[in-house]
Amino acid sequence: MSEPRRGRDPARERIAAATIELVADHGLEAVDARTICERADVGNAHFNRCFADLEDCFLVIHGEVLEELCARVAAARAGREAWHDGVWAAGMAAMRYLQEDPDRARFLIVAINGAGPGAQTRRDEVVQRIAAVLDGGRGEAVGERPMSRCTAEISAGAVYGTIQAKTESGSIERGEEFLPELIYLATMPYLGRRAAEDELAVQPLR
């Protein structure tokens, strides 16, 4: 297991930056610890002090990036009483974070596939976190049929899959442009067809 972080460690930060860059470009299966150390200009011994192995390194750094994204999303949602406003704020914060650094977005969203069972579990947790936010829509649902959390899980899967496809195709740099599409997918089961379609006409940044 990796050691907990204590204060600032510039060499570790260089390892993190090199890992993000290399894994985003080549995928985890094509990267090894030695290449990361060379890119980061640190010795193998330092890598081994920070991480148990390559998978540990990937998961720890992935976890740190994910927490940074979640903190941005949580800050954006804070104080938004209405679920619908909170979904917009969360979506905007997430898209801005992802488009800010496309390498980091690829590392976070694309490289997680095929990176081992721990990574799969991590990805499942990410989608479940999205589902937890969307599930609040049950309180604003227009229909009379009762819904369960399954609806949020379907929507979260649709939202995550769309973000993954955009990241993979390189269009995450224009993430804010497809935010209305994500909001449509997130709100349609709760607000209904017409109201969700109206979201597609919103141009949040113009």
Partner: protein
Amino acid sequence: MFWYRLGMADSRSLSERLSKLPPGRHLIPRDFVSQNQRERMLLATAELVAERGYQKTTIELIAKTARVALVTFYEHFANKEECFLAAFDESVAAAGEVFAELVDPEQPWADQISTGLEVLLEMVVAEQPRAKLCIVESQAAGGKALARYQSMLEMVAPKLREGRELNPRASRLPDGLEVAIAGGLIWLVHQRLVSGRVDDLRGLLPEMLQVTLTPYVGEVEAARAAEAAQARVAA
């Protein structure tokens, strides 16, 4: 139950399904033997990958479980990935045949979607190892497998897209809507497979149907279809 009505599910035990042909010299044609070996290896791959995950499944284990020699494995496949992809393709093709058989294109579109979802859920329950291979492990088995998974979602899109004719404002809908919906539905099934909660899978049909139909026919019609599905599930 659509799946069983069609007689597609194999009621033999795994051991029977993996049993070798008689050893030694016999009159069974060589092609038949080769095909039988290939089928056993694909079946063994599905069983092993579902149980242990792709990464912990080895060529040696596949050969041993399929009761073939290692050299036979390499006569059919260059490596584990190729074998996995063949198992994926074979499973998706088999599922496609079942859909083609059971979903009547003359039915109203919403009924076709309802039948299609019901067939999907029944197939997943009846053939869990294959379902796990296609839905869960394909996302962990490298770039080619992931591309196959994406293609599987895209195969569903044209049928869903037909529903746009029922929405007067369909031109507003995002291009990627159908693949996104398919991805969301499969995600829900994925979660149930990962957590082993597949017994009540059929109970998800009404909610899955409601989400799928709403963009096209609106929430009122979608709720009506979901109610009808609920009644079928309860029956």
